[in-house]
């Protein structure tokens, strides 16, 4: 065990730190749940790509740096520390990108990865359906192969598709074998959002903005080379993507460490009133410790993966831990803010509320998206602990 950074890692940290200092916009971008904000974030991705900072773990040939997972964690630490913009294309670069590298053909990698990396193609997910939420194997949307074998015809409805309103491409699972049941007979398909027959209906989220949407597919023709993995192998491919989502890539510890740091600051600024409820101090300390624990465990997982280990059911332990930590931290901040906690920052007397309300609202979604925490608990009980399914 050696818990010190190498000289190479330290130099890497300095390099990204100085690039961020020179390039992070001084004014925060508008939220990417607005059209203007979405475009601003797309431009930011292009700038990141120019600096070869877009997706550092990708190979150099694809615009990345071939960085190891420790460098990735360092990058994220500096990124959140610099309060750089959120990643509008996280579905692409963090989830689909690694899946493409594992299951895509050489031609597909060439075709999709660069556009993804530059922000030209922003991706959204098309997984959940009105009757297939936690029960993803209940998917009914269909993909039928045309008689000439050149296209799939997509029909059905997808929902809760984050950033689908302005996204350029979607990836999702469709049933190619109409006789199949559950997780058999599903196929992973990539589709441009501007195809004829696709209708997007925005769904306003708790903040009133169209952060997600429904996608209707009505006889949408997609070339067969937009299939990722083999026909009927969709579940296997999707599980890899879900692993990336719940595991290392999506929610790096730095995000929560920065929230914990800001929570400590908020507590210290308001200590006198906050201490009227002694449980607040306890919750603040716990936030710090849990964010540290999440960091330590993620570093350990990264070290294991570097040594050739595989990510398993611990992806589920991660997902529960960070989502409940995020909820708890924001709830604590609301307690500290007291009567002003419910105010939006633009309210005339909202001084000092910062962005906590936004974060509080968003934190409510954490235990739900990427597989509800109930599903994660089932996975832990059945696959980690070996408890009986039936």
């Amino acid at each position: 065990m050696d818990l010190a950074y190498t000289e190479e890692h330290k130099a890497f940290r300095e390099e990204i730190r100085s690039w961020l200092a020179d390039n992070v916009p001084s004014e925060p971008l508008k939220t990417f749940d607005t059209e203007e904000g979405f475009q601003q974030h797309r431009e930011w991705e292009a700038k990141m790509y120019e600096g070869r900072w877009g997706m550092i773990t990708w190979p150099e040939a694809m615009g990345g740096r071939g960085a190891d997972l420790i460098q990735w964690l360092i990058f994220e630490e500096e990124y959140y520390g610099a309060r750089a913009p959120l990643r509008v294309n996280q579905n692409g670069i963090f989830l689909l990108g690694p899946t493409l590298m594992e299951y895509g053909t050489e031609e597909q990698r060439q075709r999709f990865l660069t556009g993804m990396a530059t922000g030209k193609d922003v991706w959204c997910q098309a997984w959940s359906e009105p009757n297939a939420g936690s029960d993803m194997a209940a998917i009914r949307a269909k993909a039928e192969l045309t008689s000439d074998g050149k296209h799939y015809v997509l029909n059905g409805q997808k929902t809760w598709s984050t950033r689908a309103v302005w996204a350029d491409w979607c990836f999702g699972m469709f049933r190619t074998d109409p006789e199949s049941k559950r997780h058999h007979g599903l196929t992973f398909v990539l589709a441009p959002m501007d195809l004829e027959g696709i209708t997007v209906r925005p769904i306003p989220q708790l903040d009133g903005l169209p952060g997600f949407a429904e996608i209707f597919f009505d006889n949408v023709k997609v070339p067969v080379d937009c299939r990722l993995g083999g026909e009927g192998e969709g579940w296997k491919v999707a599980m890899a993507t879900a692993g990336f989502e719940r595991g290392l890539m999506l929610r790096s510890p730095a995000r929560f460490q920065e929230t914990a740091r800001r929570l400590v600051e908020l507590y210290k600024e308001n200590q006198q009133s906050a201490d009227r409820d002694p449980s607040v101090r306890d919750a603040v300390l716990r936030a710090y410790l849990d964010a540290e624990a999440y960091t330590l465990t993620t570093y350990q997982t990264a070290c294991r993966l570097i040594k050739g280990g595989k990510i398993g059911a611990e992806a589920s332990t991660n997902k529960i831990f960070w989502s409940e930590l995020d909820q708890q931290m924001h709830a604590t901040a609301m307690s500290i803010l007291g009567a002003r906690a419910e105010l939006w920052p633009h309210a005339p007397d909202a001084q000092g509320v910062g962005t906590w309300l936004d974060g509080f609202l968003f934190s409510q979604s954490g235990p739900i998206y990427a597989g509800t925490n109930e599903i994660q608990r089932n996975i832990i009980a059945e696959r980690m602990l070996g408890m009986p399914r039936k």
């Binding site: 410790l289 009980a381 602990l385």
Partner: protein, 351 residues
């Protein structure tokens, strides 16, 4: 950056785990409850044979010269077995404290005997009120303010205090400090006492991880067999989630414990913070394990007969020893709430 244990450390853990599974069964533990001392010379001899008693004794005194990181996984296994012998205390607390005294006469007299298994040494700190296993100790290192005193077993009076855990043997020790018995004082004494407290907290934290793991195993087995409504109760989501809640939290207590051991070995400036994090997180998860596991056992969990009690009671005892939650949280607060505290992303691995 390498946050993994070495192959050797993992192999050693496996072999100790195998040994304890075979030799320290719940039946064996219950047998020892019925004996006068609650301890077994035979079992101790086996532990000595494996090199465990002298593992942290420096090589020049006949030990293996290993450190806290080498031992921390073994402490976890000792917790998993609810090992009654004071192995973890001796290897992680008493031997390093004795060594840190750097007292030639004491080292020469006691360290070789500890390594060969013919003597036991224990540490008693004021924080704990009681001294564990004082009844089988040949040498006691006792705190008096900033001083440490070394006393032979004939120089102390022991008053037994019964713990909820029949395996724990706690003694109030009556003794008189004197210039003859004082072996460290002032800043040096305080530093050694502080380190001993950190080592004791780490020792308990590592064992608590093993206790939580064992309680999960016992309860998974029980709920997979016990049937109600025509099915194993382990198929019910409410029962599964009780278990999953322990299991996921355990993953986030293991790494703080490993980091605390690393901090002790490497004398990191954050050692107090790191140890308190480990103790707090590990005891919290073993406490949760006790609560959820007794629940899924139903009335059986409340009986003397079911082995869960062996592990559950130790977890309850561990909560408030070697620093209770208040003590450790306050040490975390000392760091987190200080002016200019290095918090936030990028500050986890301070040297």
């Amino acid at each position: 950056m390498d946050f993994t244990f070495t192959e050797d450390q993992l192999l050693f853990q496996e072999s100790v785990s195998d040994f304890l599974k075979n030799e320290v069964t719940p039946e064996k533990i219950r047998e020892l409850w019925e004996t006068d001392t609650g301890r077994s010379d035979e079992l101790w001899a086996q532990l000595v044979e494996l090199g465990l008693a002298g593992m942290t004794v420096p090589e020049e005194f006949g030990g293996l010269g290993m450190n806290e990181l080498d031992f921390v996984l073994l402490a976890q296994e000792a917790g998993h077995a609810a090992l009654p012998e004071p192995l973890v205390h001796i290897a992680l607390v008493a031997v390093p404290t004795l060594t840190a005294l750097n007292n030639e006469a004491l080292s020469n007299e006691w360290l070789p005997k500890i390594a060969e298994g013919s003597a036991k040494v224990v540490v008693g700190l004021e924080q704990n009120v009681f001294v564990e296993d004082a009844h089988i100790a040949d040498l006691l290192l006792l705190q008096n303010g900033d001083e440490i005193h070394a006393l032979g077993k004939d120089q102390v009076e022991l008053i037994y205090n019964e713990s909820v855990d029949p395996s724990r043997k706690l003694y109030k020790v009556n003794w008189t400090p004197s210039a003859d018995t004082c072996v460290a004082s002032g800043a040096e004494g305080k530093a050694i006492i502080d380190a001993a407290l950190n080592r004791g907290a780490l020792a308990v934290a590592a064992q608590a991880l093993g206790l939580a793991q064992r309680m999960i195993e016992i309860s998974v087995q029980y709920t997979s067999e016990r049937q109600q409504f025509g099915v194993a109760i382990g198929t019910f989501q409410a029962v599964k989630h009780h278990m999953a809640n322990i299991a996921y939290k355990l993953e986030y207590a293991k790494t703080p414990v490993a980091r605390a051991a690393y901090a002790l070995v490497n004398n990191l400036s954050t050692v107090d913070l790191n140890v308190s994090h480990a103790k707090f997180a590990a005891c919290e998860v073993s406490d949760l394990a006790a609560k959820n596991c007794v629940q899924v056992h139903g009335a059986m969990g409340y009986t003397w007969e079911v082995d869960l009690q062996i592990f559950m009671k130790k977890a309850w005892a561990f909560n408030n020893t070697w620093g209770d939650a208040a003590f450790h949280k306050n040490r975390v607060a000392d760091f987190v709430l200080a002016d200019n505290a290095l918090l936030g992303a990028g500050n986890t691995f301070l040297s």
